[in-house]
């Protein structure tokens, strides 16, 4: 085995990627999060889950939020969706302050949350019905979204007849149907098996390429974040604060083959250091005694 090439600096961008980011930053800001904090009452005084989170997301940007468990990623996305209230700070979409949930911020949950009494088509129609859209026009719209996620032949099936991956596609179509400005995704592929997850990641990129939507994606899977994101927001726990924002230098269009590319590996290593600092420190000695008799020593 030859010695591997030294990895490039993870922030170094090729000219094409740098140009892309420059263009991206010229686009209007769709969503702005301004010094958002959230405290929860705890046994020994309030616990700060999020502190002073500020973030600007440009139009058609795909931003991933990543962090160790308990860093408040889910709290953050729930506040953005309007399902939870911040203790302080504010949220703007297209320059207007938000209050409460709204179809302009569509959400895809980890637990699918499809309406089990509605068929695939009726699920996708839900948001359009809430908006009071005329039914024939809305149905044509719903059909388009179902086609987009590749479920044409399952339009009249009930959720319990679908696999996990298919359910999550319905959830994506349902969230996109009312034309949200921002699509919020809370670990949407976390419950799927590895193979389906990989399929869904490419599928999401494909959808994003064809739809004018800005995506905020929460995950704890480092590869997933690098594969999908323009920028990765790395949170740290206790209190939940932004640790670092990484502009991913992996060129687009992305594919699973890039997992081995030097840019990918460099970013991956940096994320690893940020999220699992313990793994890179020398292992602490655990007092383990041998409990069973072993015939031969395999060490």
């Amino acid at each position: 085995m030859s010695t591997p090439d030294p990895l490039p600096e993870y922030l170094r961008q090729s000219p094409a990627v740098a140009a892309r980011f420059a263009k991206l930053k010229e686009r209007p800001v769709v969503m702005e999060i301004d010094r958002l904090s959230r405290q929860f009452p705890g046994e020994h005084g309030p616990v700060t889950a999020l502190r002073d989170i500020s973030l600007k997301i440009h139009r058609r940007e795909l931003v991933c939020v990543i962090g160790p468990s308990g860093c408040g990623k889910s709290t953050l996305i729930r506040i953005i969706a309007g399902l939870d209230e911040p203790t302080s700070g504010r949220m703007l979409v297209d320059g207007k302050e938000t209050s409460g949930p709204s179809p302009e911020r569509g959400m895809v949950f980890q637990g699918y949350t499809l309406f089990p009494w509605r068929t695939v088509k009726q699920n996708v129609l839900f948001g359009l019905e809430m908006a009071g859209r005329a039914s024939s026009e809305a149905e044509a719209d719903a059909r388009q979204w179902i086609d987009l996620v590749g479920l044409r032949n399952f339009a009249d099936n009930y959720p319990h007849q679908l696999s996990g991956g298919m359910k999550q596609r319905v959830a994506i179509a349902r969230a996109l149907a009312p034309n949200p400005r921002v699509l919020l995704m809370d670990e949407p592929f976390g419950a799927l098996d590895a193979q389906t997850r990989a399929q869904m990641q490419s599928h999401l990129l494909e959808i994003w390429r064809n739809v004018d939507v800005t995506i905020l994606f929460i995950t704890h899977d480092l590869d997933e974040a690098i594969l999908l994101a323009d920028r990765i927001i790395v949170l740290k726990a206790n209190p939940g604060e932004i640790q670092e924002v990484i502009e991913v230098s992996v060129p687009r269009p992305r594919s699973l083959e890039q997992l081995q590319s030097p840019e990918f590996q460099a970013t991956r290593r940096r994320l690893d250091e940020l999220i699992h600092p313990k793994l890179h420190a020398p292992a602490e000695h655990l007092p383990i005694t041998r409990l069973t008799q072993v015939g031969d020593d395999v060490e």
Binding site: G106, F115, P116, F126, M130, L162, G165
Partner: protein, 346 residues
């Protein structure tokens, strides 16, 4: 593989065995009853007089305890008079199965003893009417109120403590009051059933609505659903199958209140029939009437279960055979588009 066992902890039985046991569940009590009725030496504590002999007070058909009868026979023999003869019999309150079976038919065809009393079918119609109105009125208020309590914590805090309090008051305790307020005919009986059902109903319905997955509410909110839509378009349809089952169970409770309701004011309906027949000591008719209540209850429940399964297809994870056939054929006829997963997980 070894043969499936009859007693394996928490293991499903084959459909055949399930049906078999279901049949045995009914046959076993019937068998027990038949043995006690037809095999003389099992119980039969009485002697039924066939021929009174020269014992002046005996009449054919009279039943007396075996010991007393033996004493009379001994006395008669000692006095040199003709002793009475008789056969062993069960007490009159335990008629044999065939007598009850016959009564199931004859109870409908026999005119009431007193002129003006109701025939059995009229009594039954009366009971069904009482149940119907009682359950309808209770549900018409109880179900919406329960849904409100399940949807809004403030509604629940406002009504449930009081509902919980009244729930512990036995419905029959309101009997005298209801007669004073509503008269002696149908109305107070319906009221008793309403009182007995309503308060339970509110709590049960509220609980069922509360069990709806909160994720569905949140998903609906992010899709633009407002308060009214969350209740009517999410909570209601999501809990409908369970509400339907709740009502099925509550209908069973309404039947138990029927019997006490019917002795309030002027005794009426199936209870009146049962009490009358017991007075005439026609216990075969009494059993027949009780069995008929059971049959009506079981039949309604089965019909409602059958209807419910078809009403809420989305809740039923096991598609019917017809449905499976259709979807299998469809899958064969329409090759899936390349982007699609062709095998949904079972």
């Amino acid at each position: 593989m070894s043969r499936p066992r009859w007693f394996a902890v928490r293991q499903e039985l084959s459909p055949l065995r399930r049906r078999l046991l279901g049949g045995v569940a009914f046959l076993l009590p019937l068998l027990l009853w038949s043995i006690v009725s037809y095999v003389p030496f099992i119980w039969h504590p009485n002697i039924k007089v066939i021929e009174p002999g020269e014992v002046s007070w005996m009449r054919p058909g009279l039943q007396i305890p075996r010991a007393d009868f033996a004493k009379e026979v001994a006395t008669a023999q000692a006095a040199g008079v003709r002793p009475p003869t008789g056969e062993r019999a069960n007490p009159i309150y335990l008629p044999p199965p065939h007598a009850v079976g016959r009564a199931l038919y004859t109870a409908f065809t026999t005119a009431p003893v007193l002129k003006g009393d109701l025939w059995l079918h009229e009594s039954l119609a009366m009971s069904l009417k009482t149940i119907f109105w009682g359950f309808l009125i209770s549900s018409a208020i109880g179900v919406p109120l329960g849904i409100l309590c399940g949807a809004f914590v403030s509604a629940s805090r406002l009504s449930e403590p009081f509902v919980d309090f009244v729930r512990y008051m036995p419905a029959p305790a309101f009997g005298a009051l209801m007669v004073a307020v509503l008269g002696i005919h149908l109305e107070p009986k319906v009221a008793i059933i309403v009182i007995g059902t309503f308060f339970q109903q509110v709590l049960v319905v509220a609980n069922t609505v509360r069990k709806v997955d909160g994720g569905l509410i949140e998903a609906a909110q992010t899709l633009g659903a407002k308060r009214r839509q969350l209740v009517l378009r999410v909570l209601l349809p999501a809990s409908l199958p369970d509400l339907y089952n709740d009502l099925r169970i509550l209908l069973g409770w309404a039947w138990t209140y029927l019997i006490v309701a019917e002795v309030v004011g002027v005794s009426s309906g199936i209870t009146f029939f049962i009490n009358q027949q017991a007075k005439y000591r026609s216990f075969d008719n009494v059993y027949a009437a009780i069995l008929i209540i059971g049959f009506i209850g079981l039949a309604t429940d089965q019909v409602l279960a059958f209807v419910g399964e078809r009403l809420f297809v989305w809740k039923n994870p096991r598609p019917s055979r017809v449905r499976r056939f259709i979807s299998a054929t469809m899958a064969r006829l329409l090759p899936a588009a390349p982007t699609e997963e062709t095998t949904p997980a079972a």
